[in-house]
């Protein structure tokens, strides 16, 4: 097990290298630089050049790339060009926000999705099944950001139940945190909920049709016990396998949800950095996201092995 983890960690390094190289490739090609963020439209070309010089942007790109890698080896992701703090500091400030949004959405989609899928499988072919699966399909097909906009309109402006955006940290005020994160979580989780529901249903159907279930029923065990203890337990395996992809999808969706609801998370940090060309933040932020993605995948694989004793970690 330890060997497996170590081997996976080692294998992640080339991927992370590639991620940073791809990012550099993009940054090399992208026109414009952050110097313009300090100036307005009335600025002269000389002012633009001067600000670029002051920011050290007049050095050639390969040189800047070299500096970045050398600093990386010392564990330093550099200083943001526009935010007046270190890249690591900026990321760490934002991380809890994105993690709480993504984590909460994950929990909500799994709980509600699995519940819906189980009900649909148990009531296979009947109205509840059709209804659930139709809802799931619609949920899958809704554009998240549009759902967010419509929810803001309906539930935050027309009927002000929830606030329309912004973020309150859990440690500051738990109730306000919950109020503020309710709408974003729901609109983010909607899509994944549909996905989980459908998968749970088909997985459950496959499991419930197997011999050992019939045996358990024949033994006279109560139906809910059979469904949950035997059926669901085995059906979870395929769900766990796609959890990694789910988290990736949620992270990507969180990026957009943060824009719609003005939540100061990692996604907004990176999008803002891309649009204002804050190169160190783009570099560091994307590397960080890749790290999260790889870490989640590793955890999912471990979880998979823990759940299914037939799987041996190769």
């Amino acid at each position: 097990m330890i060997r497996f983890i170590l081997r996976r960690l080692l294998a992640s390094i080339p991927v992370l290298m590639l991620v940073s190289l791809i990012t550099f490739g993009l940054l090399w090609l992208v026109p414009g630089d952050p110097a313009s963020m300090f100036l307005d439209a009335g600025a002269t070309a000389e002012a633009l050049d001067r600000v670029r010089r002051e920011m050290g942007l007049d050095q050639s790109f390969p040189v800047r790339m070299g500096h970045w890698y050398m600093r990386l080896l010392q564990g330093d992701l550099g200083q943001s060009l526009l935010l007046n703090r270190s890249v690591v500091g900026a990321i760490l400030e934002r991380l809890p926000v994105t993690l709480s949004l993504t984590g909460l959405a994950f929990v909500v989609s799994v709980l509600l999705g699995v519940a819906a899928g189980v009900v649909a499988a148990v009531r296979h072919g009947r109205l509840a099944d059709q209804g659930m699966m139709t809802l799931a399909l619609i949920g899958l097909s809704i554009p998240e950001f549009w759902l967010g906009l419509v929810l803001i309109w309906l539930i935050a402006v027309l009927v002000p139940i929830f606030p329309a955006g912004d973020y309150v940290p859990f440690t500051t005020d738990a109730w306000q945190w919950a109020r503020h994160i309710a709408l974003p979580t729901f609109s983010l989780a909607c899509v994944q909920m549909g996905f989980v529901a459908r998968m749970t249903r088909s997985s459950m159907l496959e499991v419930l049709g197997q011999d050992f279930i019939r045996t358990a029923r024949a033994k006279g065990l109560p139906e809910p016990y059979v469904v949950v203890r035997h059926g669901l337990h085995n059906a979870m395996v395929p769900i766990v396998t796609v959890m990694g992809i789910m988290v990736g999808a949620l992270l990507g969706g969180a990026v957009v949800t943060e824009q719609v609801f003005s939540i100061p998370g990692l996604g907004r940090l990176i999008i803002g950095a891309v649009l204002s060309r804050d190169f160190p933040v783009i570099q560091g932020g994307l590397l960080f996201l890749a790290l999260i993605y790889l870490a989640v995948n590793l955890m999912v694989d471990l979880l998979y092995a823990a759940i299914d004793p037939r799987v041996r970690l190769e």
Binding site: G32, S36, A45, D166
Partner: protein, 508 residues
């Protein structure tokens, strides 16, 4: 007898006291202001961005500052003595002015700040005429100019990228690295990127004794509030929502539908800051059909400026096409552009334009995109084929500010230049900066304006500039637009200005 008189006097005094304004200023309270963008830097010398001005001009002051009518008046200076040849300015500084770190402001700090700006300030060219700055007395600074500059005090007091006075120790640091330590009525508390900047009242601040009340960026800047927090909320909807739910007391800029909805709402006042900026349509005169006068004239006649402004800034525009704002002594009541499609077609036929696709660059600010979209449809009617190239600001700035290639049209707002005065309004077109090709007539007028001290002659020169701009269609002044500012009724005595001023206002 005497006692009765005393009673009457007392009663009279009480009556007068009661007749005083029912709303008395209250000290204290925390105000939150929603602004669109975060300041790129809290070092006032480092940036000319509007977002920075909102914050920095609460913490920093300048020797001279603009009053409510944009006239330069003394702020940190007490007075100035100008030599008869116009080349020497001796500033007498106010005494007892403290920096936020407790240090008393002295002439060495002023000299250091000005020198720093000269070397690397965001608009260093403003004081390019300076030959030398030096301490010339216990509270005196002497500035010597290379040539006579009628606009020197105006430049010194420019709020755009202000020549703020900071302690000499801060001025010694590189541009962008100075800590936010100034002389202003509020001092820095904290800055959380992507969230807010927080300021608190500077208790050792002494409002300028020469004034009774606030006056533009000058005057008596009395800070009643305990703290001011500027929150950055780029999304219009989120800013409005925050205002309506009471999370912020002031929304820097809102839109027409919200303004309409809040009319008559007892909790808010909707204020119009109009005019706030000029919407300019720029040509690239260095290459492409923009170099051809007939083409430019054709465009000027093809468009309907009111429809462009009315779509981009519904209920928030002013059809005035002078290059300074109404109210400025240099303002002229120019005839507005008239749409004449037939004449446009005729001029287009005479021009070198052959139907090729032209590029219109715009940043992603919605009114600019809207203006360009309406413009595109209007000129399509006479056969001009335009492709809109929307980009983020770094991309567009890279193309429009530096290059002759890759663009034919650009539109954006000019806010601070028309406010500052004729020289500022003209400067963008000098040496071909805005239009990419120098116009010798404009360059000549600008040089004359800078050395002409007689206001009447200056007015004539400026009028000639405006005529030249129109006649040669160097750029098109579509008109003025404004801002809707939504103020909570708890915040008293707020008046819209170039920035959301938080001095002279109080919370009830």
């Amino acid at each position: 007898m005497k006692l009765k008189f005393l009673h009457i006097a007392l009663a009279a005094a009480l009556a007068i006291g009661a007749a005083a304004p029912a709303v008395a200023q209250k000290k204290g309270g925390d105000v939150i202001v929603a602004i669109t963008n975060a300041p790129p830097s809290l070092d006032p010398h480092a940036t000319s961005a509007q977002a920075a001005r909102h914050v920095n001009l609460h913490m920093f002051e300048t020797l001279y500052a603009r009053d409510e009518g944009a006239k330069p008046v003394p702020d940190l200076a007490k007075s100035v003595a100008v030599s008869p040849d116009g080349l020497s300015y001796v500033f007498t500084l106010r005494s007892g002015v403290k920096f936020h770190n407790g240090k008393t402001m002295g002439p060495a700090d002023v000299v250091a700040s000005i020198e720093r700006y000269r070397k690397g300030g965001a608009s260093a060219s403003l004081i390019g005429a300076i030959d030398s700055v030096s301490v010339s007395g216990a509270d005196q600074v002497t500035v010597k100019l290379k040539t006579v500059q009628s606009t020197f005090l105006g430049n010194l007091s420019s709020p755009r990228a202000p020549i703020a006075i900071m302690p000499a120790e801060e001025a010694a640091k590189d541009i962008g690295k100075a800590s936010p330590i100034g002389t202003g009525p509020y001092k820095f508390v904290e800055y959380k990127p992507d969230s807010h900047v927080k300021l608190e009242r500077f208790n050792d601040y002494v409002p300028n004794p020469a004034y009774k009340e606030r006056d533009g960026f000058a005057g008596a800047k009395i800070a009643y509030l305990d703290t001011v927090t500027f929150r950055f909320i780029p999304e219009a909807g989120a800013r409005d929502a925050a205002t309506m739910t009471g999370q912020v007391h002031l929304n820097e800029t809102s839109d027409e539908s919200t303004a309409k909805r809040l009319k008559g709402n007892p909790n808010f006042t909707v204020m119009k800051a109009l005019p706030y900026a000029v919407q300019v349509l720029k040509f690239n005169m260095a290459q492409g059909p923009g170099a051809d006068l007939n083409f430019r004239r054709a465009i000027a006649q093809a468009i309907n400026a009111e429809e462009i402004l009315g779509t981009a800034y519904p209920d928030l525009y002013l059809m005035d096409q002078s290059w300074v704002y109404p109210g400025s002594p240099y303002h002229t009541d120019r005839a507005l552009l008239k749409q004449d499609v037939a004449a446009a077609r005729a001029n287009l036929a005479k021009s070198s334009y052959k139907g090729e696709k032209l590029i219109f660059i715009i940043d992603s600010i919605r009114p600019n995109v809207d203006a360009a979209t309406v413009f595109q449809q209007q000129v399509a009617a006479i056969g001009v084929n335009i492709e809109l190239k929307v980009g983020d600001w770094p991309t567009i700035a890279g193309i429009g500010l530096k290059s002759d290639q890759g663009w034919n049209f650009w539109t954006h707002g000019f806010g601070i230049e028309p406010y500052e005065g004729p020289a500022s309004a003209m400067s963008h077109w000098v040496k071909g900066q805005g239009q990419r090709k120098a116009d010798p007539v404009i360059d000549d007028l600008f040089a004359k304006l800078n050395s002409e001290m007689d206001v009447a002659v200056q007015k004539k020169l400026f009028a000639e500039f405006e005529n030249r701009m129109a006649d040669q269609a160097i750029a098109i002044n579509l008109g003025d637009y404004g801002l809707f500012q939504i103020v909570s009724n708890k915040l008293k005595n707020f008046k819209p200005y170039r920035i959301t001023r938080m001095w002279g206002v109080w919370l009830e």
